[in-house]
């Protein structure tokens, strides 16, 4: 009796899981296997012309080559421009809007509104500011799309703006969990506003900031539309992030390089998740 019930439960469980497992098998694990395969075999330029084994040496050549390293460096710069600024501005907006005031909901709605804007929309929005022909700020040198030193910064700025809504919403939700008695007690102990912020508030919201850092890094690795729509990868390939370069390598003859770089991107995402976790874990205060 019990056994039959067990078998029925197994069958039901796998029936419920089947659709998800099929999707994951076909669109996550199969492509991972295929990336490894493509990276190890050079495809022929002729259609159906077969493939030639090139081995791990060829993968290493790509991952230590200029194309991959440049793309990685540009991606890291993009992260440097977007992650700390994103967190800092989210904290600023949330600190400003976390208070009892008449009509505060209106301000909170405004600050969270950029959630509605997709990467593509915010890229078009920022064309009105930074485009070299029509942008309002086209003559501001540190935002200029004409210079390899500033173009990436201009593209990154659109991401910072687009992410404002999300960072604000997350930090505000975290601030709302900080008990007011704690702040009052700190106040009575003679803690000034600055010390209260860094010694009481930041430790308490650090799990949320940690989460935010991870999310923003992941978004940074996935940045594409900003580059295509704002800079087109230029000038002088100075804004060609890793993903942007990978998307240009889809022809049969390029697949070996493209797949190797995709695996490199996978490795980086993995590594960052790991490093970030280790590093922040120690400083993050997990309450009970």
């Amino acid at each position: 009796m019990g056994k039959r019930r067990n078998v029925r439960q197994w069958a039901l469980a796998y029936a419920l899981l089947l659709p998800s497992l099929v999707v994951f098998a076909v669109f996550a694990y199969l492509p991972l296997y295929r990336l490894v395969h493509f990276s190890l075999y050079q495809q022929s330029s002729r259609l159906g012309g077969g493939e030639r084994y090139v081995g791990f040496g060829a993968v290493w050549d790509v991952l230590s080559g200029e194309r991959f390293l440049q793309g990685t460096w540009i991606t890291i710069k993009f992260l440097i421009f977007t992650v700390p600024a994103g967190i800092a501005l989210g904290v600023l907006l949330a600190m400003a809007a976390h208070r009892r005031l008449k009509g505060i909901k209106i301000f909170q709605t405004i600050f969270s509104s950029t959630v509605a804007s997709s990467v593509a929309v915010s890229s078009v929005v920022f064309l009105t500011l930074v485009n070299e022909q029509i942008g309002l700020l086209r003559n501001v040198s540190w935002l200029s799309l004409k210079s390899p030193n500033s173009a990436l910064f201009a593209a990154a700025l659109s991401s910072v703006w687009q992410n404002l809504g999300l960072t604000f919403v997350i930090v505000l939700a975290a601030l709302q969990t900080v008990p007011e008695e704690l702040l009052e007690a700190a106040h009575l102990d003679g803690y000034g506003a600055v010390r209260r912020f860094f010694r009481v508030v930041v430790p308490l919201i650090s799990p949320a900031l940690f989460f935010l850092a991870i999310v923003l890094v992941v978004y940074g690795f996935q940045a594409y539309a900003q580059i295509e729509l704002i800079t087109g990868g230029g000038p002088l390939r100075s804004t060609e992030t890793l993903l942007y370069r990978i998307t240009k390598l889809q022809k049969n003859t390029d697949l070996q390089v493209g797949a190797s770089m995709s695996l490199g991107l996978f490795g980086l995402t993995f590594l960052v998740a790991l490093v970030q976790f280790r590093l922040l874990e120690r400083r993050v205060t997990y309450g009970n």
């Binding site: 669109f27 509605a116 995402t269």
Partner: protein, 285 residues
């Protein structure tokens, strides 16, 4: 009485600060509206850039985005694709979450780890291999028809790990008493799922639906490479059409960007609480 004045002064100070921050946050939106209303040539040849619309003001930019810019069709494609993805993701996630939360079966741990590990495999990493696969089965090609394009746009997203674990967490919050009572009442597993588990966790599922809508409607990279003909462009892809090389339609691109953001903006205003709960899931306990 005496303490009222400084407090009111502080309140005014906060209002000033909050208003200033609001202006900064909204300024790019204003610029987009201003350029949507400006004549394209005027924008292109203005000597000094202005924060105001250039005359002659073109009030019809938003309707012309549909008539000349052909934005209606991409909106329909986006609507259909989003609907399919959200419905499928919700259904598959509820099913899988139920299995993980309430059922015992062989290899449960391994299956859970395999599901969670897909979170480390975003579509950007697997992009070129997935496009290759869909090219081989004929879904991605320059001659792709309606069915093939919709298939290519939706198939990889019919299930997604984030939703599974979010909803599983919701299911795990159901009190054991409720389960026992349902069992005593003779509810089968599916009956419990349908009549108790789903209704009780409606807030969580609702938040997930909104998040799924947001990410399905807003995505760019996958559609960019799985749609090979602009006949099946989504709204986000259609934004590429309006370039600087055609001054007559320059402002239509900015109007299109505003139009593209409107559906999500409406959702945000109507379901603010649920959406925020979804966005902050995982960040705040």
């Amino acid at each position: 009485m005496a303490t009222d004045a400084p407090r009111r002064g502080a309140a005014i100070g906060w209002y000033v600060l909050l208003s200033a921050l609001s202006l900064i946050v909204l300024f790019p939106v204003w610029m987009t509206i201003a350029r949507a209303l400006s004549d394209g040539s005027a924008t292109l040849f203005a000597r000094t850039p202005s924060v105001l619309p250039y005359s002659p003001i073109q009030w019809d930019a938003f309707s012309r985005a549909f008539t000349e810019g052909g934005l209606g069709r991409p909106l329909l494609v986006s609507g259909l694709v989003t609907l399919i993805i959200v419905a499928a993701q919700t259904a598959t996630a509820v099913g899988a979450a139920y299995a993980f939360a309430f059922l015992e079966f062989p290899f449960k741990r391994i299956v859970m780890v395999l599901c969670a590990a897909t979170l480390l495999l975003p579509i950007e990493v697997t992009l070129i291999a997935n496009i290759q696969t869909l090219q081989e089965v004929g879904l991605v090609s320059p001659s792709q028809g309606f069915g093939e394009a919709i298939g290519a746009l939706t198939l990889p997203f019919l299930a997604q790990a984030f939703g599974i674990f979010l909803i599983r967490q919701g299911f795990l919050g159901i009190p054991k008493d409720l389960r026992d009572a349902a069992q005593l009442d003779g509810y089968s597993d599916l009956g419990f799922l349908r009549r108790v588990a789903v209704p009780v966790t409606r807030p969580v599922i609702g938040s997930f639906v909104l998040i799924a809508f947001l990410s399905a409607y807003n995505q760019y990279v996958w559609p960019r490479f799985s749609v090979k003909t602009n006949r099946w462009d989504t709204v986000q892809l259609a934004l590429r059409r309006f370039g600087l090389d055609n001054p007559d339609q320059l402002n239509l691109g900015f109007a299109a960007a505003i139009i593209a953001a409107l559906p999500v903006l409406v959702l945000l205003l109507v379901f603010q609480k649920q959406l925020i709960r979804g966005l902050t899931a995982g960040a705040v306990k």
